[in-house]
């Protein structure tokens, strides 16, 4: 009990300290709290006034019948108003339907995803779009694509043997190339990806 060490440790031997908390440690605790409060403030501002949102409770569906129910019976891209798009994407073992979404650069795209079978993931590379896809639920996030390019969307939740092959792509094209690619509403180009995924509906 009488041993002391040089440096900050000495304070602790003083029985008058509250709970034996060393002054250095007290300051460390203050600093920790200040740091955590600063982090909390940052995510609050970013999350609620700068619009970096996470998914929320955006609707439920019945996984047994969802593929026969609008809009999921005809997944794909819809233009809501100039430069504003909505995409309904079905994630099912082991492909996305549709496999490709083409939007002109600068568009705001709101993506809705659900699954009729098991859980999947939907993350668009190089963006903040990243959603768990859960049967019975609709996942939704919006993103404005400000750069031309290909943005793969990848299944990032294990969903069985074909998981590593499950992806699609958002094609962001120059504004001039728009009209040609804008017609893939019913996503017929995803038919090749279907094959093994029909047994769901009965």
């Amino acid at each position: 009990m009488t041993e002391t060490a040089p440096g900050p440790s000495t304070g602790s031997d003083d029985p008058n300290l509250t709970m034996g908390i060393d002054p250095y440690e007290r300051n460390w605790m203050r600093l920790s709290i200040a740091l955590l409060v600063a982090f909390a403030a940052t995510i609050t501002v970013a999350g609620f006034s700068m619009g970096f949102a996470v998914p929320g409770a955006d609707g439920e569906v019945d996984p047994r019948t969802v593929l026969e129910t609008e809009p999921w019976s005809s997944p794909g891209l819809r233009e809501i108003s100039p430069g504003v798009y909505e995409a309904y994407v079905v994630a099912q073992t082991w492909s996305f339907n549709p496999r490709e979404l083409e939007v002109p650069v600068g568009s705001e795209l709101t993506i809705y995803v659900t699954s009729p079978d098991v859980q999947h993931g939907f993350s668009v590379r190089d963006t903040n779009v990243n959603m768990q896809v859960v049967p019975g639920q609709v996942s939704k996030l919006s993103y404005t694509f400000d750069e031309v390019g290909e943005f793969p969307y990848i299944c990032n939740e294990y969903c069985g043997q074909g998981h590593a092959a499950m992806y699609g792509v958002v094609n962001v094209v120059p504004a001039s190339a728009v009209s040609a690619g804008n017609d893939n509403d019913n996503a017929s180009d995803s038919a090749e990806a279907q094959g093994d995924a029909d047994g769901q509906v009965d």
């Binding site: 982090f39 999350g47 996984p63 079978d117 990243n130 019975g136 990032n156 294990y158 998981h163």
Partner: protein
């Protein structure tokens, strides 16, 4: 704050001379042997996964036994994250309870029953996994459906750990009756707080399995509510990481200081940290569900804030543990701002393992704070960053610490000497270096958008720019393979070695507090206020959303009709 009570006149030396009997030692050792066996088998798949990333596919050679990357990954997750940890922790807590309190278990048969229930559970789980009828990974998210035996076995492992936990409380209770007015010794109290936290936390998984997954896998019901299942799962899933971590903290606070020739810097704060973990470990589970549909943003946000609260006791731990080490380092003649680090006994593999584990834990902690930061989570959720993160925490801070503990504990329990001290040092450093390379590459891949739980060697969307990182994952994996094989070899040689003189067998290292623990306020030694606090916070932070999801439960997701794996 001064607390006066009649015990002031009866200070008690923590370092009691209680020595576990041979049969008690055997009982503890049985837990540790199962743990090490699980780590051995489970860890073999880690390097295979890591090699796959750079296109070196060993799965084709083991196909007769293990059918796929995913079956191997299920084994890896279950054996390492669930079996190695749980068996080690329960065994270690038996030891810290008996040695800490200086008495035998009050109801040893209860603990024996608990242990065998865990073993039966382990076997019940192992069969379906090995038969490839439970390739659902260690999170078993429905509607991926495993064989019922998989769920039943996991339940039995948890129930067994509850039964052993009951044995610990009864022992503490008996000790308190015999030692009225005395503060309970830290290493015993810490382990038992962990057991209590675990019992609260595992209610989530228990309800998930008993009400949803078992009836469904047995064919009694035909569908599940996967979002509710996720909420149940993560009710348990986050505190699970503290269940792993707290025994490592018991060693860092309560044993490591003794091993390095020092003392526990602050007994009060060590306890305060543990009580805080009891309260805030559980009501934070939605931070694993930030990207989930079906959970409103408000609850996610509240859990993000509570997660920051649970970071606080870890900050206390960082200070107290480092201060304890500094105290020892200076006593050993270390000077200067960092000179004391060099004078610590780095030639003791048990110490080195724990120090290196603690160093990497700082990076794990920073990464964890990132994960918990609400919308920042969108950048890394389900990417390779996440396994990169938890190989720093559970697979290094916890695992390397547990390995370090076995370097004195196995000799202590068996009456043998540690085989190959220098080899053991090599083992700890290779784990450290291998993990730095591996984990850094995984973090980078995650930031670039590489998904986790994916054999990236054959994924169809991998750009060339990832190649360097994928290669580094494999290199780290190779170093880790050497390390884990070395570890198992050391253990086998030690256990198979000859008994040695008693004087050469290491004792249980129990650190004395710098300031007598009798001065620790009474409220830091009582379960009741903290348990009530934990209950209240749970009701506030989980109650409304959980009740909402349960009342709106929709068992409408049957899963897939095709063979998924």
């Amino acid at each position: 704050m001064t607390v006066v009570d009649r015990s002031q006149s009866r200070p008690r030396n923590w370092d009691n001379d209680y020595e576990l009997t041979d049969s008690e030692k055997r009982f503890v050792a049985q837990h540790i042997y199962v743990a090490i066996a699980a780590l051995f088998v489970g860890s073999l798949f880690g390097p295979l996964q890591a090699f796959e990333f750079s296109g070196v596919d060993f799965y084709q050679y083991i196909e007769p036994v293990i059918k796929s990357y995913y079956q191997g990954l299920t084994l890896h997750g279950v054996l390492n994250a669930l079996v190695w940890t749980t068996f080690f922790i329960v065994g270690f807590t038996n030891l810290t309870t008996m040695k800490g309190l200086g008495r035998p278990l009050s109801h040893p048969h209860i603990n024996r029953i608990g242990f065998w229930v865990m073993v039966v559970g382990l076997l019940t789980t192992a069969f379906p996994i090995l038969a490839n009828s439970a390739t659902v990974l260690y999170t078993f998210y429905p509607p991926l459906q495993a064989s019922w035996a998989f769920y039943l076995g996991l339940t039995l492992v948890v129930v067994g750990s509850w039964i052993e936990g009951l044995g610990f409380y009864l022992t503490l209770h008996a000790w308190r009756k015999e030692n009225r007015g005395t503060r309970s010794p830290f290493i015993a109290l810490g382990g038992i707080i962990n057991a209590a936290m675990w019992q609260i936390a595992t209610l989530g998984i228990a309800v998930e399995v008993l009400t949803m997954l078992l009836p469904w896998s047995l064919g009694i019901t035909d569908a599940t509510d996967p979002e509710l299942a996720r909420t149940y799962f993560w009710f348990t899933g986050h505190p699970l990481v503290y269940f792993w971590l707290l025994p490592a903290y018991v060693s860092w606070y309560g044993m490591l200081p003794k091993q390095v020739g020092g003392k526990l810097f602050s007994d009060s704060l060590a306890r305060l940290a543990f009580w805080m973990f009891l309260i805030v470990s559980v009501p934070v589970g939605f931070h694993h569900q930030f990207t989930d549909p079906g959970v409103p943003q408000t609850w996610k946000f509240i859990h993000a804030l509570l997660t920051y609260a649970v970071f606080f006791p870890s900050m206390i731990t960082a200070f107290t543990v480092i201060a304890s080490l500094e105290y020892a380092g200076r006593k050993r003649g270390g000077t200067g701002l960092v000179g004391w680090i060099r004078t610590l006994p780095w030639d003791d593999p048990s110490v080195t393992a724990q120090l290196l584990g603690a160093i990497l834990f700082m990076f794990g902690g920073i990464g964890g704070l990132t994960n918990a930061s609400y919308n920042l989570n969108l950048v890394i959720h389900n990417t390779a960053w996440v396994p990169g993160h938890f190989h720093l925490t559970v697979a290094t801070a916890v695992t390397l610490t547990f390995m370090g503990v076995t370097y004195w504990m196995i000799p202590h329990l068996t009456g043998k000497a540690l085989w190959g001290r220098r080899v053991a040092l090599f083992q700890t450093w290779t784990w450290f270096v291998g993990m730095i390379i591996f984990s850094n590459a995984m973090h980078m891949l995650g930031l670039l958008g590489a998904p986790r739980r994916t054999p990236l060697g054959k994924a169809l969307y991998v750009p060339e720019s990832w190649d360097g990182h994928l290669m580094r994952v494999s290199i780290g994996g190779a170093i880790l393979l050497v390390s884990v094989l070395t570890y198992v070899y050391i253990m086998v040689r030690t256990i198979a070695g000859p008994k040695v003189e008693k004087a050469l067998v290491p004792a249980v290292p129990v650190a004395q507090p710098l300031r007598p623990s009798q001065q620790t306020p009474l409220w830091l030694d009582r379960f009741k206020p903290w348990l009530i606090g934990a209950g209240v916070l749970l009701v506030i932070a989980y109650g409304p959303q959980l009740v909402d999801q349960i009342f709106n439960m929709n068992l409408n997701a049957p899963g897939s009709d095709i063979d998924l794996w």
